[in-house]
């Protein structure tokens, strides 16, 4: 009984009594789905064919803007410059370490190569997709992670422009849920205008869902 009270309360608050949701060709009234357990006049409960459901794993992901690789390269350059200068000074002024300059240099170069390689792999693997009802973000170097957030669970959307990113006309979209930090999506490397459009789209979706 409580769920009935709640469901109708929510529906009333959100003013979506009349609106149905269209999903893969099926017209579903929210009431029907919400009040599965209650006996209602137009109650239907057909078996869902799980094989026919849209598959998240077959979604085509959009890749990040090529300029984002430049952004990554630049921030890495700054990072390694600072480390390199610091390390160089330490080697120069420390008498004990001075004989090992060659070894340290080789190790430093190896580190740069490894980091560059993994950044490249990470950049290649990052991808995003906006479906009709959810947003997907794929990332990860060793493991492939796919994070899916349905639009009706999105709390708010933010647009972030880093210093270097702004120079290349790129922005980052941040999508927040109530599930804490680990369930938020941050999509970097999207062209500014496109990011604005995506944000508008998401806001529209959220508004409609609420």
């Amino acid at each position: 009984m409580h769920s009935l009270k709640n469901a109708s309360r929510i529906l009333k608050r959100n003013g979506c009594h009349k609106k149905g949701l269209k999903v893969s060709g099926l017209k579903l009234e929210p009431e029907t789905l919400n009040l599965k357990q209650n006996n209602m006049e137009n109650f239907t409960n057909e078996t869902i064919d799980t094989k026919q459901l849209p598959k998240f794993e077959e979604v085509q992901f959009s890749v990040l803007h090529p300029n984002y690789w430049m952004v990554t390269l630049m921030s890495l350059t700054v990072f390694f410059l600072i480390i390199g200068i610091g390390g160089g000074l330490a080697l120069f002024f420390n008498d004990i370490l001075t004989p090992f300059v060659l070894e340290f240099s080789i190790a430093f170069v190896c580190l740069i190569v490894i980091v560059l390689f993994f950044s490249r792999v990470g950049f290649k693997k990052k991808g995003f997709a906006f479906r009709n009802h959810d947003v997907l973000f794929r990332h990860g170097i060793i493991a492939t992670n796919t994070l899916v957030i349905p639009y009706n669970r999105v709390q708010h959307v933010a647009l972030h422009e880093g210093l270097i990113s702004r120079f290349f006309g790129l922005a980052k979209i941040e999508i927040f849920t109530a599930g804490g930090r680990s369930s938020d999506i941050e999509i970097p490397g999207i062209a500014k205008e496109e990011a604005e459009k995506i944000k508008q789209l998401l806001m529209g979706k959220i508004q409609k869902q609420l």
Binding site: M1, H2, S3, K5, N6, A7, S8, R9, I10, L11, K12, R13, N14, C16, L21, V23, L26, L28, P30, L33, N34, Q37, I48, T50, L53, P54, K55, F56, E57, H133, D134, G140, I142, A143, T144, N145, T146, L147, V148, I149, P150, Y151, N152, R153, T177, A178, G179, G180, R181, S182, S183, I185, Q209
Partner: protein, 504 residues
């Protein structure tokens, strides 16, 4: 119903006393090292100054307490439907909480408050990690009244919708509130006390002893652990016997502490039904009462170990929607010592039916291999490297290490054996744990986001991991059949996206 909350009003007049004691406690906590030094050097201090200082100190705290009392007001703004608290002497703070955002209203009573017969009323929303509104001294009648008013908002909307006769509703509420439908017996508490939290209490006790020895060392300049060998007290032949005795005593202390803590915290645990919510109240010295609204429950976990199964007791933990992950653990509401029937009654209230275990998914054996590598393989490798340095000082180290390997191996084996997920139409149940086996229950509609992950070398054998994010924490299942996982993810996404279900 008395009490007009539309005008700003102060707390009970005895609130001054409560504020005084709380301020005193605060200062005592901050300055206790100085106090300790004073006590030790009591003879050297000028008594006159000390007396004068103490009087001034108390007077200042008294004035501060009085001003805090004077400046603390609260009221309900009926126009904006907000609960407003103003406080602060120099830094004024005005907290406005929208009534519909209020998640919980707790009425607690600490020992100090019990002495002067007032209660504390704390308002909690999902927004941030700390309690937003906190009234330190309020009479019981007023507290109940205010609580009803603060939570009225929900009821009002429901009543508007369904046109329930208000008289009927209130009488129903009365009946519900008066009869607790579950009371946790003292015996159940005892059972839970001696069978749970071994590991946690062990570390707490260990930390306590280490700090104790540290303090003794600081004050006396003698290191108890180093200077005084156990051989000084017992014969060499009896060292192992003494160790065993020490271990048993240590273990018994752990159990005793657990028992006392459980009884003190959860004494007289009552669960009542109120407007479809659960009303919990418990505590020996500090009585706490909390409301759990079923729709705000995110994760419900049922924990039971072997002994508890034999004694027919278990622990229920309810996680509600919170702002962050760290607080989720703290805000979990525990119901210790229910038996099977009580558990089923509570679950029925929360979910409207008893969750059943559906299709089972088990992790691949590689999960066992990986956890053994991390918990046994890596430590053994480190041990192998440093063994030559340590072995001279501690000849027993080899035995300790082999004991560790066997123990860890058993723990990992049981963790693997117990780890599984049960999925049916309405519930996802994750079973985990080595000794304390817990079943975490969530409804698919509470899912906020889904993360699916696969290591690239697991592609061919088709296994992968799944993390379900809810507003009350995450549920993770590693290295299961990836095809099945993907199929369920698609199903859950479909269910979430086609319904506007209320997750909070």
């Amino acid at each position: 119903m008395g009490g007009d909350f539309s005008q700003p009003q102060r707390q009970s007049i005895v609130g001054i006393f409560v504020m005084f004691v709380y301020s005193l406690q605060g200062y005592a906590k901050a300055f206790w090292p100085i106090l300790v030094i004073w006590i030790f050097k009591f003879d050297e201090i000028n008594k006159g100054y000390l007396l004068a200082g103490t009087v001034v100190f108390f007077a200042v705290i008294g004035v501060v307490a009085y001003l805090r009392y004077r400046n603390f007001t609260f009221y309900i703004d009926p126009d904006n439907d907000e609960f407003i608290i103003t406080e602060g002497i120099f830094n004024k703070t005005k907290t406005a909480i929208q009534l519909h955002k209020i998640q919980q209203v707790n009425i607690n009573q600490s020992f100090v408050q019990r002495m002067v017969g007032v209660y504390e009323l704390a308002v909690d929303t999902a927004g941030s990690n700390k309690k937003e509104g906190d009234i330190k001294a309020i009479s019981h009648v007023l507290a109940l009244d205010l609580k009803a008013r603060l939570l009225e908002n929900d009821k009002k909307i429901i009543n508007d919708d369904l046109n329930i006769d208000p008289i009927e509703a209130s009488s129903e509420k009365q009946v519900d509130a008066d009869i607790p439908f579950i009371k946790i017996s003292f015996l159940s508490l005892l059972k839970i006390g001696i069978t749970s939290n071994y590991v946690k209490s062990f570390f707490v006790l260990l930390a306590f002893f280490i700090t104790l020895f540290d303090y003794i060392k600081q004050f006396t300049g003698r290191d108890v652990l180093q200077d005084e060998n156990i051989e000084d007290y017992v014969d060499e032949s009896q060292v192992s016997y003494a160790f065993l005795m020490l271990f048993v005593i240590f273990f018994l202390t752990v159990i005793a502490i657990n028992l006392v803590k459980t009884v003190f915290t959860y004494f007289d645990y009552k669960i009542a039904r109120q407007k479809g919510s659960l009303l919990l109240s418990f505590g020996l010295l500090n009585t706490k009462s909390t409301i759990v609204k079923p729709e705000k429950v995110q994760i419900t976990s049922v924990t039971q170990n072997f002994f508890q199964k034999k004694m027919n007791v278990l622990e229920l933990k309810i996680k509600q929607a919170t702002g962050g992950e760290k607080e989720a653990r703290k805000l979990a509401i525990e119901i210790p010592g229910c038996n099977l029937q009580e558990k089923n009654a509570i679950l029925k209230l929360l979910f409207k039916k008893i969750p059943e275990k559906g299709v089972m998914l088990q992790p691949n054996f590689r999960k066992l291999g990986f956890s053994i590598f991390v918990t046994i393989g890596l430590p053994l490798l480190v041990f192998y490297i440093v063994r030559d340095l340590v072995v001279a000082q501690m000849p027993m180290i080899d035995y300790l290490v082999s004991f560790f390997v066997v123990f860890m191996g058993l723990v990992q084996f049981f963790i693997f054996k117990n780890n599984r997920v049960f999925i049916n139409d309405d519930f996802i149940i994750l079973q985990s744990g080595a000794w304390d086996i817990s079943n975490e229950i969530i409804e698919p509609s509470k899912i906020q986001a889904i993360n699916v992950s696969q290591l690239f070398w697991h592609k061919n054998i088709n296994i992968g991991s799944l993390t379900l994010h809810t507003a009350g924490g995450n549920i993770a299942f590693q290295l299961g059949d990836f095809t099945a996982i993907k199929q369920y993810v698609n199903l859950w996404l479909y269910e979430i996206e086609t319904s506007d279900s209320n997750w909070m």
